[in-house]
């Protein structure tokens, strides 16, 4: 059924999206006789979630997990379509684009879940016991150490804007960021950037446009290109992925901005009427539990709300204490982000400044 709706949906998607929308389906079979299959629809990279799933199966060896990975917007489209038809999508949705999850919950597509574990979740990361934030991920800058001289490494948003302005020719076409038309998380971060400081964001956007910034669908692609040296700087990358990449590619540098750092909490939601809502709740409880959090800290998402930054990351000692962190609150305010007129206009403005103004002539050159 999902396949069918997905196929139908595909028709409406742009060619670019269609290319990227290939479902990444992975099955983690149960170690012991099967108690059932937990179907997760997620936007989290398989590499990041894998340690968590494997550890979960150590404590619940009777659960098979069917893990489906999508881009945030695709997942949102699938989930809202499924909710409209009242055919719940999987047993657990994990998305970094929490605004989309919140919209789903607001539309009545989520089932509430309370347990001792959910009580541990901070207020700002829990809405109606339906949407839970289970990670703490700052939006960071990444740069290639061999391409960006140490003196030029930007440590605030203003420094980045100024750097692109001053060394326009050097960085032309070498800065990468999310394509917010394709990536929900990119849109969420950009929108919150705009809310944070209108002027700085305007300047940054203008600088990036002039420097012909490259927009990509996903963090992974940009990180790879920065690591290779095709791109020099990546803007608004998810800290967890960036740090993971930096460990594999020593030439990657990670900077946590010192003026303000948006912090995203990856959201989890159990769809209303999910067939194995019990398994979904079990995995959710695991994610929120002490054990799950500690595995996430060491192997999956690296950053935590209370602890220090992981070693090798350039930034304030402790995100929370420095007051730099600006967590994106999981609450009704995100509905403003999801307002379709708002979204349309914001994306139009963004595209105009970044893509169109940055005329094709630059890139063809």
């Amino acid at each position: 059924m999902i396949r069918v709706s997905f196929a139908l949906l595909m028709v409406g998607l742009t060619a670019a999206q269609a290319l990227a929308a290939e479902s990444n389906k992975t099955l983690f079979p149960a170690v012991q006789p099967d108690a059932g299959t937990l179907t997760i629809y997620s936007t989290t990279d398989l590499a990041a979630i894998k340690p968590l799933i494997e550890d979960f199966q150590k404590s619940s060896p009777d659960v098979s997990i069917d893990y489906n990975e999508y881009l945030t917007n695709e997942l949102n489209a699938l989930a809202s379509e499924a909710c409209r038809k009242q055919e719940p999508l999987g047993d657990l949705l994990l998305s970094s684009s929490v605004d989309q999850l919140l919209k789903l919950a607001n539309d009545g597509c989520a089932a509430a879940h309370t347990s001792p574990e959910t009580l541990r979740v901070a207020d700002w990361a829990n809405w109606r016991d339906e949407v839970f934030g289970f990670t703490y991920e700052p939006a960071v800058f990444v740069y290639n150490r061999s391409k960006v001289p140490p003196a030029e490494v930007p440590r605030t948003h203003v420094e980045l804007a100024d750097l692109l302005r001053e060394r326009l020719d050097y960085y032309r076409g070498r800065v990468g960021t999310y394509d917010i038309r394709l990536s929900g998380i990119g849109y969420l971060l950009a929108f919150n950037d705009a809310r944070q400081t209108t002027t700085v964001f305007g300047r940054l956007l203008e600088s990036m446009a002039r420097a012909s910034a490259v927009a990509r669908c996903c963090t992974g692609e940009i990180l790879e290109e920065v690591a290779k040296g095709n791109l020099y700087i990546g803007y608004n990358m998810l800290g967890s992925y960036a740090y993971d990449a930096a460990q594999r590619h020593p030439e990657l540098g990670v900077v946590v901005p010192r003026d303000y750092t948006l912090v995203l909490s990856r959201g989890a939601l159990i769809p209303k009427g999910a067939q194995r809502a019990d398994l979904g709740a079990r995995f959710l409880d695991y994610l929120l539990s002490e054990r799950g959090q500690s595995v996430a800290r060491t192997n999956a998402f690296y950053f935590t709300e209370s602890g220090e930054l992981p070693p090798g990351v350039d930034g304030p000692q402790n995100l929370k204490e420095s007051g730099v962190a600006q967590p994106i609150r999981i609450g009704p305010a995100l509905l403003a982000v999801q307002d379709r007129a708002q979204r349309q206009r914001f994306i139009e403005d963004w595209s105009q400044s970044l893509i169109e103004l940055n005329s094709p002539a630059w890139t063809r050159e």
Partner: protein
């Protein structure tokens, strides 16, 4: 003397308690309902302000850009609504042509917007099967390109309102409950207090001497006056009847005495000379019976006198020794068997008691007479003695005495185990009557090796004797 419990109706206290608790319960229920109603109104008012505020903010954000109506919904409007942190939010912006600009296309106000008079409204409604509050705000646009009315509809689920209503109602309920408890406890105390005079009256009437038929003189609330005067009226009538009866007995005894004296004289005159043995026997029997009858008549008169005096004679301090000695002299006839050892023993300090000398003498005479007739074999001893608070007249004889199981019966009128011996049985009754009238008692001490004792106990007079 304890009266048998009557057939009880529900107690006055119980009836009042039930009615008061019923009234309190109804009152509390009404108050809680009212509290719930007010709480709901208050919660609705509070959250309606947020709703209208958000709608106004959104309406304010509408602007015409390049001839097109655009909505830049402010995040603050959603944050305002987010103050009700668990409630779902639905909104819709409608442009001047009635087309949805953004938001939920199927969200409608219960009253169609075209008919809405006020630019602002808040109503109850249902959206997505959930009860919601729906507010709308109107923005009148007068731009050359876009003119007319644009609307913003904002709806919010009721969770926060319900939670606030519940909390307020719960607190009010706790207060009402505490107040009801206090009121109930207070009412119970008040009822107890108010019913105390009834209890007191009961105790007073119950604690009365059975022979006391004087009016009840307890202070009672006005409401009990009819009851008390009924009792007093009844007692008065009873008293009259008893007086009448006593007078009748006294009159009868007196009337009997005259012919009886004549009869005795006649019998004495009759002599026994001409009678044969059987006749003499009959004659003696008649003589015996006649003297018994005359004694009974005397006792009846004495009894009537004692009762009369108890009611009418002012008590005064008297020396118990003097009274007892006089009685002793009266009671021991000259013809007493000279073999019997008779003694009178008195302390030197001459104890005084408050009383009527005549009645007391009569009582002691009766006790001694009784002992002489039925008890004494060889010895009779009359003793007066006193302790700190009481004075005693003890009459001890060496006869068989009365077994303890018959003590109670012995003081009843005309009751004696030896009636065939010619007892009238009024002696102890008279003595006890007198003892009671003097606030004392008549009691028996079981037979020991010396003998059987009848004790008349009287309270010692503390004042100075004349």
């Amino acid at each position: 003397m304890r009266p048998e419990p009557l057939q009880h109706g529900p107690s006055l206290f119980g009836r009042l308690a039930r009615r008061i608790s019923f009234v309190l319960f109804i009152g509390a229920a009404l108050l809680v309902t009212a509290a719930w109603y007010y709480a709901e109104t208050a919660a609705n008012k509070a959250y309606d302000r947020l709703l209208v505020g958000a709608a106004l903010q959104m309406a304010e954000s509408l602007s015409v850009e390049d001839g097109i109506l655009t909505a830049r919904l402010p995040t603050s409007a959603f944050e305002l609504l987010g103050l009700a942190d668990r409630d779902r939010i639905f909104y819709r912006v409608i442009d001047t042509h009635g087309q949805t600009l953004t938001g939920y296309d199927d969200l409608k106000t219960p009253t169609p917007l075209e008919r809405a008079q006020d630019p602002l409204s808040v109503e109850e409604g249902v959206y997505k099967d959930e009860p919601v509050r729906i507010a709308h705000a109107t923005r009148i646009l007068a731009d050359p390109a876009v003119s007319g009315r644009a609307y913003v509809i904002v709806a919010q689920t009721n969770e926060a309102r319900l939670a606030l209503t519940r909390e307020l109602t719960l607190r009010a309920t706790i207060l009402v409950f505490i107040m009801s408890l206090l009121a109930f406890a207070g009412a119970m105390l008040a009822i107890r207090y108010a019913l105390q005079p009834v209890e007191q009256l009961g105790t007073e009437v119950r604690g009365r001497d059975p022979h006391d038929l004087t009016p009840v003189t307890v202070d009672v609330p006005r409401e009990l006056d009819p009851f008390v005067s009924s009792i007093n009226h009844f007692m008065g009538r009873l008293n009259e009847r008893v007086d009448l009866l006593q007078r009748f007995i006294a009159d009868a005894a007196h009337q009997i005495r005259t012919p009886l004296t004549a009869l005795t004289a006649q019998i004495d005159l009759l002599g026994t000379g001409k009678l044969d043995k059987a006749g003499r026997q009959h004659f003696n029997r008649v003589k015996e019976r006649t003297s018994e009858l005359s004694r009974l008549t005397n006792q009846l008169l004495s009894h009537a006198m004692v009762i009369h005096r108890a009611d009418s004679v002012q008590q005064e301090p008297i020396s118990l020794v003097d009274v007892a000695r006089r009685a002793y002299r009266v009671a021991i006839p000259v013809t007493v068997d000279p073999d019997i050892v008779i003694s009178f023993e008195a302390p030197d300090d001459r104890p005084f008691v408050l009383g009527d000398a005549v009645s007391l003498r009569e009582a002691i005479v009766n006790v001694i007479d009784n002992a002489l007739r039925h008890g004494t074999d060889q010895r009779l001893e009359v003793r007066v003695r006193a302790t700190g608070t009481q004075a005693f007249v003890e009459v001890e004889d060496d006869g068989p005495g009365i077994p303890p199981e018959s003590w109670e019966k012995a003081t009843q009128r005309f009751a004696t185990s030896k009636s065939h011996e010619g007892s009238s049985g009024l002696g102890f009754a008279i003595a006890q009557e007198v003892a009671n009238a003097h606030g004392g008692t008549l009691s028996f001490r079981a037979r020991d090796e010396k003998g059987f004792t009848v004790v008349l106990t009287l309270p010692l007079y503390k004042g100075v004797a004349k």
